[in-house]
Symmetry: C2
Subunit: 148 residues, 2 copies
DNA sequence: ATATAGATGCAAATTAGTTGCATATGAGTA
DNA sequence: TACTCATATGCAACTAATTTGCATCTATAT
């Protein structure tokens, strides 16, 4: 079951609070990402919008804005293009990615706070850590079976 | 100080053992990556080769081979393109990346073994984990100062 | 209702990564 | 050492990903 999308009203307020305008295009994108609750590529987003086509440029710009505002996190699944995942009011998590078929699975149990604090303490050059990536790459059971 | 490059002789043997041919182009790339000991982009590699230009196609293919053999690891620094870092006989580590100026710093203290074992145990769909990404994104002190 | 900073969407450019194919060569074998 | 052949190379051409510029539009504060 997928998570419920953020409510439109809440989102409008959220966005304004972060200094962004709540436009239809943005609300639509936010609704989609929060509803799907999984990493989506630009292509995937376009596909999901179907008829009412979204302009890629706007998508990129909106995603960038969302990222800055902390609504969305960029995820690299090593598919040759970026993925974006709704992050607002979701439990922090990462992904297992099958390097053969691309299937992904969520994984929680990453202690971002502790992890980044430790890294920061050791670092000589960094002032603060704001985000991090942590994906695991391997082989899923289906692909493993079909190998042997 | 940068790490010493792997010795050419050792590398030849290594590559043959992994089923790859030790060609001049590969030895040159391996020497560069192991000498630099930091994530390099395709562009960066080309630049480093200077005059004796390297064919991008060959680079991609060689890097892919190196990755499969475990000599090299792909790193996503969120620069819009992949980076590759020499991984053979180097201590496992990750990176701090400044999202403003791009400067990177190494970070060790990642327990890959424990981490992946835990994830694997919880997973229903994965047979094994072979690699993982774990980069930290933040602001370096230089950029932080210039903000305030 | 209005003004205006911020957002949109086209066209066009740039950058990243891939595929096909003809040629060349490393490395095992005779 | 010479041979052979699977593997690697490098050009051309292509597809995909991402960015920039600019004219137009519109949310929102007043």
């Amino acid at each position: 079951m997928s998570k419920a999308a953020v409510l439109e009203g809440d989102l409008k307020l959220l966005m304004r609070k972060s200094g962004y305008r709540a436009t239809p295009a943005r609300l639509r994108l936010a609704a989609l990402l929060s509803r799907e609750a999984k990493p989506m590529s630009i292509q995937g987003i376009e596909r999901a919008f179907g008829g009412k086509k979204a302009d890629v440029v706007t998508l990129y710009r909106t995603l960038f804005a969302f990222e800055k505002a902390g609504f969305v996190r960029q995820v690299d699944l090593r598919h040759g293009h970026a993925h974006y995942e709704w992050a607002h009011e979701r439990t922090h998590h990462h992904h297992l990615v099958c390097t053969r078929c691309g299937v992904t699975e969520e994984y929680d149990g990453c202690e971002f706070a502790a992890f980044s604090k430790k890294a920061l303490k050791k670092s000589k050059q960094f002032a603060r850590i704001e985000d991090h990536a942590s994906e695991l790459f391997g082989i899923c059971t289906r692909c493993d079976v079909s190998t042997s």
